[in-house]
């Protein structure tokens, strides 16, 4: 089967369906990697960190960001992720982070209030995750544009499967600038600790728990930037579903208790992150295919979440489904998304306050937008009439 990148970016779901049925492990020439599309296979690979690893020289995330929790396995991975996990657990997010998320949401909704019609992606969804991360780490909100600039370079570099040297050099340059920036912030917090700032807590851990400064910077980088496009896409994909499903639109606006279930189903049905990439650590036979050491395998979690062997009526959007939490939209296995609960909280608070603040908002039917992406998938714009039609 000849799989075209342009078609994957445009509408991958019919392709996923055919792959699951006929070619569950398929070679994608343009991406120089295998696609694995069935739920059972994707779960097995993401749980097998002996044969399918994250950090090799073929990995763009390793090339640009080096060694950190997303490019290591075993004890080293545990050392990194264990230090960072506590503030990302639901209880901590609820008790210590949700208030500041609400303040940032209100600030951004204030900033668009004078506009009757608004492009919500650039006015809100792109900005919220960066402001939340700056607050969480204790970094100045005035550095928003600085982080956005670095992030845009990172995004290009991580998607650089053709290894364009200019894109790669730009990504590495931005990573270097970020390290210098973060080191200055670490030293600031060593001089004046602040227990409410995650970076300060991590920079001042007791000696027997502390990461080296290099380890700290590398892991903060991946955590800080891992929660940006993903949250933006979750908010926009949720609005996209509301735009096309009047029943869901009415229900979530009138019943805020349904929003968490709604968001779970958004992650399953049209997840922001479509794939999780792994690399073969050795020659290995899996699913009737003989992989060679160094092969790249893309686990298509967005396809797995539509697998009829895992979900009832998988192509139906149903927030009342009994298998709501079975999805692997935040991946599974040791590299499960650290920030999944923070992402859920940001999207939920954003929707709640949008509905409260602009109860009559409508989607602008005159402005057509594209939904695109092969790795991250989301609407490229979201035009709202805040006061209604």
């Amino acid at each position: 089967m000849d799989i075209k990148l342009a078609e994957l970016k445009k509408d991958p779901y019919p392709i996923y369906s055919e792959l699951r049925d006929r070619h569950p492990i398929a070679w994608v020439e343009e991406l120089n990697m295998f696609y694995v599309t069935r739920f059972e296979d994707v779960v097995a690979i993401l749980n097998d960190s002996e044969h399918f690893i994250t950090g090799t020289e073929k990995s763009t995330i390793f090339d640009i960001f080096g060694s950190h929790m997303m490019t290591t396995e075993g004890d080293l991975h545990q050392r990194y992720k264990g230090r960072m996990r506590p503030p990302f657990l639901p209880k901590f997010v609820r008790e210590h982070v949700e208030k500041s998320i609400g303040e940032r949401v209100d600030y951004l909704l204030d900033s668009i209030q004078l506009q009757d019609a608004v492009e919500f992606r650039h006015g809100f969804a792109k900005r919220l995750p960066i402001l939340v991360m700056l607050d969480l780490f204790g970094l100045p909100a005035t550095d928003e544009k600085l982080l956005r600039g670095w992030y845009d370079n990172f995004e290009l570099a991580l998607d650089n499967y053709v290894w364009d040297p200019e894109v790669r050099a730009s990504g590495k340059h931005s990573a270097g600038e970020f390290h210098n920036y973060l080191q200055r912030q670490i030293e600031r917090f060593r001089n004046v600790p602040d227990s409410s700032a995650l970076l300060s807590v991590l920079a001042n851990l007791p000696e027997d728990q502390a990461l080296t400064d290099s380890e700290l910077r590398h892991n903060c980088l991946i955590v800080l930037f891992g929660g940006i496009s993903t949250v933006e896409a979750l908010i926009l994909n949720a609005l996209h579903v509301m735009n096309y499903d009047a029943e869901v639109n009415n229900r979530v606006r009138s019943d805020f208790d349904a929003i968490p279930k709604f968001l779970e189903e958004v992650v399953r049905f049209c997840g922001p992150v479509q794939t999780a990439t792994r690399h073969l650590s050795m020659d290995y036979s899996f699913g009737g295919h003989c992989f060679r050491a160094g092969d790249t395998v893309n686990c298509v979690i967005a396809s797995a979440n539509r697998d009829v062997n895992a979900f009832s009526n998988p192509d139906m959007f149903d927030i009342d489904r009994s298998d709501l939490r079975k999805h692997i939209g935040f991946a599974t296995g040791p590299h499960h998304c650290l920030g999944s609960h923070l992402a859920r909280a940001e999207a939920r608070i954003a929707l709640e306050r949008l509905f409260l603040r602009y109860p009559n908002f409508t989607f602008d039917k005159n402005k057509i937008y594209k939904v695109e992406g092969q790795e991250f998938r989301q609407p490229l714009a979201m035009h709202l009439n805040l006061g209604g039609e």
Binding site: N47, Q78, P90, T332, H336
Partner: protein, 106 residues
Amino acid sequence: MIKVTFIEPGGQRHEVQTATGYDLMTVAVNNMIPGILGECGGNCSCGTCLVSLDSTWQGKAGNASELERSIISGYRSCSEDLRLACQIALTEDLDGLEISLLDEFY
């Protein structure tokens, strides 16, 4: 089928009937039991399915491995009652099992 009861810190009980052969975390997640996240899918990696068993059940549920104990120690000092639900295989011997949920995560 066996019966497993999950008890929230506030005392609310959740009774679940389940076939044997599953691990306790999977049963909890499939039944939307609050407080058990099971984020790593049962890899004994994240610790987000930490629970407490009283002495009646500790022997029947087996002992925690060294790896399991190291993960638990990331949250609390290890003690005999603390286990990761993903490492407890449900057998007929565990019919009637009562699990105390912790307030670590929710």
